[in-house]
C-alpha cells in the first residue's frame, strides 16, 4: 500500500566550486523505502563527499522513513569523510525533522539553491 520510493542521483556544483551529489527522492519515505534509499546511498562512489538529499518530490514521510535517514546520517558520520545536507522538505516536515534532532546532524535548507550556497 505504500507508494514506491524512487531515488534519482544527479550532480551539481556548490558555491565553493566543489562537486555535490544529490539524491532526489520521490513517492513515500516509509519503512518500505529502506532498500531503495540505502542501496542508492551505498552505491555512491568514494568521491561523493558532499551529499544532498532532495525531498521536494516526496508526498509522505513517517517516523520509520525518518529512521532510514538517521541510519544514513549515522553511516556518513562513521565514515568521517562525507557530509549530508537536506533540502526541499515542506515546512511541516522541516519542523518534524528538527523536533527529532535530525537538524543537529544534517544542514537543512529550504531549496537546492540555498543548500548549494552553503557548501
Amino acid at each position: 500500500m505504500q507508494a514506491a520510493t524512487k531515488v534519482t542521483e544527479r550532480t551539481a556544483t556548490a558555491a565553493s566550486g566543489s562537486g555535490v551529489t544529490i539524491l532526489a527522492f520521490a513517492g513515500d519515505i516509509a519503512s518500505t523505502s529502506k532498500d531503495a534509499i540505502m542501496e542508492a546511498y551505498h552505491g555512491l562512489g568514494p568521491s561523493a563527499d558532499k551529499v544532498l538529499l532532495d525531498f521536494s518530490g516526496v508526498d509522505y514521510i513517517n517516523s520509520s522513513g525518518i529512521a532510514i535517514i538517521i541510519q544514513m546520517l549515522l553511516e556518513a558520520s562513521k565514515s568521517g569523510q562525507r557530509s549530508v545536507g537536506i533540502f526541499g522538505l515542506t515546512p511541516h516536515f522541516n519542523k518534524v525533522f528538527t523536533m527529532v534532532g535530525v537538524a543537529k546532524y544534517a544542514t537543512m535548507s529550504a531549496d537546492e539553491a540555498a543548500a548549494l550556497a552553503g557548501l
Partner: protein, 145 residues
Amino acid sequence: MKNGSCVEVRLPSELGFEKVALSTAASMASLMGFSNDRVEDLKTAVAEACINAIEHGNQLDDSLSVGVMLSTTDDGLEVRVMDDGLGVGEAPAAPDMDRKMMGEEDPRGMGMFLIQALVDEAEWHKGPPGRSFVRLVIRLDKENK
C-alpha cells in the same frame, strides 16, 4: 460541522493503510476550520498512531483490523485509534539523537514522541484485546498559538 459528528474507519493491519485514516482526519479538521499547519500536525500524529496499532498492536496480523474513530467536540477534534494489542501506558521518552548517532539507540521509536508533540492531548489506554487505544485531541482554541 455539528458537535458530536462521528466518523469511523476500519483499516486492515497492513502498513500504508494509515494514509486512509490521515486523509479522513485531514478532511474533518479542514471542515472544522483548522489551519493547514494544524491539519499537517494531525495527519502525522494520526499516521503514527495507526502505524503503531498496525505494527505493534495488531502485529501486522491481516485477520485483525485497526479502528479509527473521529468525533467532533465543542472545541476540537478527538481521534481514537484502537487495536487488539495490550496497549501502552507510559509516556513516551523523547528521542535522543546523540545516542542514535552513536548507535546506542534504535533509529526508530519516534512515533509516540511525535504524536505527543504534535497534538494538544495524547493518552494511551491499556485494555483487553480490541479495547486498547490511543486518544488524540486537537483544539480549535489552540489555533495560532
